[in-house]
Amino acid sequence: MTDAPNTETLKYTRLYQRHVDLGARMVPFAGYAMPVQYDGVLGEHKWTRAECGLFDVSHMGQARLKGKDAIATLEALTPTDFKVLKAGRQKYSLLLNDNSGILDDLMVSRPETDGLFLVVNAGCKDQDFAYIGRNLKGDTSLEILSDRALLALQGPKAKEVMAKVIPAACEMYFMDCGTFTWQGHTVYVSRSGYTGEDGFEISVHENQVAELWDALLSDPVVKPIGLGARDSLRLEAGMPLYGHEMDTGYSLAEANLGFAMSKSRLEAGDILGFDRLKPELDGGLTRVRVALKGEAGPPAREGAKILTEAGEEIGYITSGGPSPSAGGLIALGYVPPAFSEVGTNLTWDVRGKAYPCTVVALPFVKNGYHRKKSA
């Protein structure tokens, strides 16, 4: 079944016709017609964990910050030290408002020595770029790369696929990035992704994306994967999703994203909304993001209540579902810190009935990142 979206305002990636021809079910997502599934979410999820999945994520926002004050510009809006970001490396960061609320999460990389390359969420990109644009410092320019598409190649066999298409990219390790040439065209590639697997994210000019998509998909270990499996894969990897685990109401302390904050920035205390953030980091939290696992019953989804074993309501689920790879049921949600310790037995409410669950450590499924082995 192919439901062609009939909303005239929807935007389309250059791969729209490819998705339709592959039998995808297209849905509106962040203003774009996007494939939610091709053959089925479960099969696509498992294929990505065992083989290699190809995702069209061209709806995401890409931009470049250039100039000698580019780092100062971005540091003022994030809790991250980018002075230490070496060429060829990538960092996860958060765009913050004045109250240390999370406006978006983003990847920041230096594939070239000049400038920072940003990838932000599709649903936030217009406001993100407007916000950054209003706050440019001194010698900084923001170039929105609206003509670039983005593909993600993910899974344990991503490396062997990439070795045939952009072989030089296989020399990178997890969270490395670089500028490469493919068929004479410049591509920015990072060794990262949103599934917990080894893999690559490839920024390519939209005029070449269909050709690159075809080249990657021609490998029999590669299947196209929709947004449905993208969500279940990231959930198993314990990764937060903007609009679910994060929004402007949450701080990085509440969202348990302290790894996005650099120690030097914490020590300097020059993070937006530090008056709010500092006491929270010092133990003053009223809620914190946790991972929950249940064994049986219906999945607990966004909005479901989290209760104590005695039935007292203490929190809520922000994402949840079955875990195709780990089995059982998994969820992310918020509870007071007193209930956040790993091993705490709680319950979640689905349609008026409480089912047992336990606070667990993340990730739910072991990640497969290609890390540099320490000597």
Binding site: G40, V41, L42, G228, S232, G297, P298, P299, P322, R351
Partner: protein
């Protein structure tokens, strides 16, 4: 077999009927991972939510296509919810209902009418 606009089906056998969701509905839902079956002995009214079918992404209510008493539920679906995808209009039935008003069935669409309805979606 008769169908509703909400994509449930009814197959009458004497004064009882098997009910389930149509192949169209099962395909639209995608991989079913959990089914909440109605309790045996419960009386349902036509149009009530009487079961829940869940895919990886979402939970969908199933509405009773007819009124009556639930006299059996398809327990196989508790351990093998994927049967709904494999055979939605057969072994993937949800419940057996003792009809309280047989005239309700006649008002539902036959397969031709349902196919015609699907073509308008």
């Amino acid at each position: 077999m008769r169908f509703t606009k909400d994509h449930e089906w009814v197959l009458v056998e004497g004064d009882t009927a098997l009910v389930g969701i149509s192949a169209y509905a099962a395909d639209a839902l995608g991989d079913v991972v959990f089914v909440e079956l109605p309790e045996v002995g419960k009386t349902v009214n036509q149009g009530d939510s009487f079961a829940v079918v869940e895919s990886v992404k979402a939970a969908s209510d199933v509405y009773a296509p007819i009124s009556g008493e639930v006299i059996a539920a398809n327990d196989e679906l508790s351990s093998s919810p994927e049967v709904i995808n494999a055979a939605p209009e057969g072994t993937g039935w949800l419940a057996k209902i003792k009809l309280s008003d047989a005239t309700q069935v006649e008002a539902l669409m036959d397969r031709d009418a349902y196919e015609a309805f699907l073509s308008t979606l």
